[in-house]
Structure formats: C-alpha cells, structure tokens
Amino acid sequence: MPILTEDVRNKVREELTKLPGKAKLVVFTQAFECEHCRENTSLAEEVAALSDQVDIEVYNFALDKEVVERYGVDKIPAIVVAGEKDYGIRFYGVPAGYEFTTLIEAIKIVSAGESGLAPKTKEALAGLKNPLHLQVLVTPT
C-alpha cells in the first residue's frame, strides 16, 4: 500500500520531470526501536521512483557507521538531500504534510545547485568564518 496517493504521485512526477541535474536521497534507518523509520524509507523510495534524476541509497544507522559519520547524521529517521555535492540539507523525521512540499523543493534546489537566495544573503553567507548549524523544528500540519 503506497503512502502517496495517485494524485500526489502525478503532481510530484510532473515537478520532477523538470529537474536540471541529479539528486540523491541518502536515507538512514533501523529495523528496531525506530517507530517511523519504515514509513520514512518507503516515502523516500516512492519519491525516488518518480524520477530518473533522483537516486536513493538506504543505510543502516547502527551498522553503516562510516556513512553515518560522513554525513554527520545523529538521529533517525533521516534523509540527506544531496546533489552534485552535499549541501548540508537534512530531514529528521518523516517529511509528511507541509514538509513533503519542502522535501520536493529541496530536491529541486540541490538538483539545480542553486539556492534561490537573494544576492545579499549569499554574500553574507560567503563571508562565514565558522560553520552554522540550523535546526528548524516543525510539525507536519
């Protein structure tokens, strides 16, 4: 039983046909003690299936330590949305509801390699001397 309805799948497919470049969903999961992991992995798989430009890799959070460390993932379920390179975008928890739209937007952004931010914002961020870690806490509705 798919998570996405036929209607949503069609809309997402249409959105993703315009992707200018590759995108990759790197999913971290675990079989036990992770209530939403299975749903998260299924959702990522369903999205990846809608476009040839979107690849998916699924890793075990407990066993694939090298990859977990490489992406700096500290909790699950997690999805790293990467393009030609890792832009630092992470989704923790199932991106359902409004966050599903955010996930699709993130895929489009990394695929294009263009954030869409204002020149002034880019200028300020280009001058960063220390890393920034943003955590945006949201709810699905």
Binding site: P77, L128, N130, H133
Partner: protein
C-alpha cells in the same frame, strides 16, 4: 559551512524539551540563537548571523 536540519518535532520530543518549543516553526542556530515563526529572508538572515556574533 551551513548545515540545515528539518526536525519533525513530534518524533523528537527530547529536542522539543531541550529547546523549549512552544510554537513552530522554531529555528535554533548553533545552540546560541533561537527564534520562532517564519521570517522573511532578510530578517531570517539577520537572526542567523547573530549566531556568528554570539560566538565571537
């Protein structure tokens, strides 16, 4: 230089507790700056850059 996490609050109650989340969206930057609500880009940037000042 920038890492951005979307965190689904209901799945990570310990973070809701840690960051005193009463409303969403709530943004936490480098553990030193916190703000609630969706801000227009210039104001969002202003808040985010505060973290670089707070850290000296």
């Amino acid at each position: 230089m920038v890492r951005a996490d979307m965190v689904e609050a209901t799945e990570f109650p310990h973070l809701v507790h840690k960051y005193n989340v009463f409303g969403v969206p709530k943004t936490v930057v480098n553990e030193v700056v916190q703000f609630e609500g969706a801000l227009p880009e210039p104001l969002f940037l202003q808040q985010v850059m505060k973290a670089t000042v707070e850290e000296g």
